[in-house]
């Protein structure tokens, strides 16, 4: 992937396929590093599946939806000297606390660090594709924070879908404003 934000879009789709109702995308950045966490309350994975989920060649047709996504993220993290971990609690065994957490750690100073890229378009694409799912996006940088919580938006919007064009534009402008100050269009 050319941008980490594309890996984020891809991995968050796994959460949606796993029937998550709430997906958190958390980015924590320092001068040297970037930590990405994607947490969901979806159906989770069995221990057996979890053990082979980062092996692209173990994927069978019935499990194709996981496919190359995690191996690509793992590669992107490891090629900077970082790592990727996954923990998961299967719904059958953990009826209250099921879900999956993917954590990837990157050294930004490494030559092979893939830039974050257009993360705003990633958030807009996720909300557009799954307006019934709630997303918390939070990017913590030294001294500042960018955040979007669709639960708050939903409270104000009532039954107006989050995928309405005006709402998507509001989300894009809100994030653009938080990242760059005065609103300007991107992508």
């Amino acid at each position: 992937m050319k941008e980490l934000s594309l890996n984020i879009l891809d991995i968050a789709q796994n959460s949606i396929h796993a029937e998550a109702g709430f997906v958190e995308i958390l980015l924590t950045e320092t001068a040297e590093s970037l930590k990405l966490e994607i947490k969901d309350d979806g159906r989770g994975m069995s221990e057996e599946f979890l053990n082979r989920v980062t092996d692209p060649f173990s994927t069978t047709r019935t499990t194709r939806k996981v496919g190359m996504g995690l191996p690509l993220l793992k590669l992107a993290a490891e090629q900077t000297g970082g790592y990727m971990t996954i923990t998961s609690r299967e719904r059958a065994l953990y009826p209250e606390t099921h879900g999956t957490e993917v954590t990837a750690f990157f050294y930004k100073t490494h030559l092979d660090f893939t830039p974050l890229g257009d993360v705003i378009s990633t958030v807009v694409s996720l909300v557009q594709g799954s307006p019934e799912v709630d997303f918390l996006y939070r990017h913590t940088m030294p001294g500042r924070e960018v955040e979007l919580d669709t639960r708050m938006l939903r409270e104000v919007l009532g039954d107006v879908p989050l995928s309405s064009p005006d709402v998507l534009m509001w989300i894009r402008e809100s994030l653009t404003e938080q990242y760059y100050g005065e609103a300007e269009q991107s992508e």
């Binding site: 879009l9 891809d10 690509l72 807009v124 694409s125 557009q128 938006l153 005006d166 402008e173």
Partner: protein
């Protein structure tokens, strides 16, 4: 921070309109957004369709949605346009071609044959 007042205004505006039910649109544009599609450039294609449909005021009659991998990864980004029982499959689409599809196919009613899978496989 963008104000929640603006969101409230959106709600007021939208409540006066009939909210589109899923599946009720006349035309559907479906963009492949699996790993293969995303890696090949599907995200800006999707966003181009969403913006073009909104800007042309077609939100009520054209639905833009996302799908997974349909097994033809080398042709991604793949875009399918559904209208009634008809389906047109476009391959190797970029934002410029997406704009053209909206203009000529969605608005003009004429599929762009050279961007279809049939043309690509020749």
């Amino acid at each position: 921070m963008k104000s929640l007042e603006e969101l409230k205004a959106i709600r007021e505006r939208m409540q006066n309109k009939v909210i589109l039910r899923e599946g009720s649109a006349e035309k559907r544009i479906v963009v492949g957004m699996a790993t293969c599609g995303i890696a090949a450039g599907a995200r800006p294609v999707l966003n181009t369709f969403v913006e073009e449909i909104a800007n042309r005021g077609l939100t009520g009659s054209v639905e833009v949605s996302q799908t997974g991998c349909i097994g033809m990864c080398r042709f991604e980004p793949i875009v399918e346009v559904f209208e009634g029982d008809e389906r047109v499959t476009y391959v190797l689409i970029d934002p410029a071609k997406a704009k053209e599809i909206v203009e000529k196919h969605i608005v003009g009613g004429k599929p762009i044959v050279e961007y279809t899978i049939g043309a690509a496989e020749k």
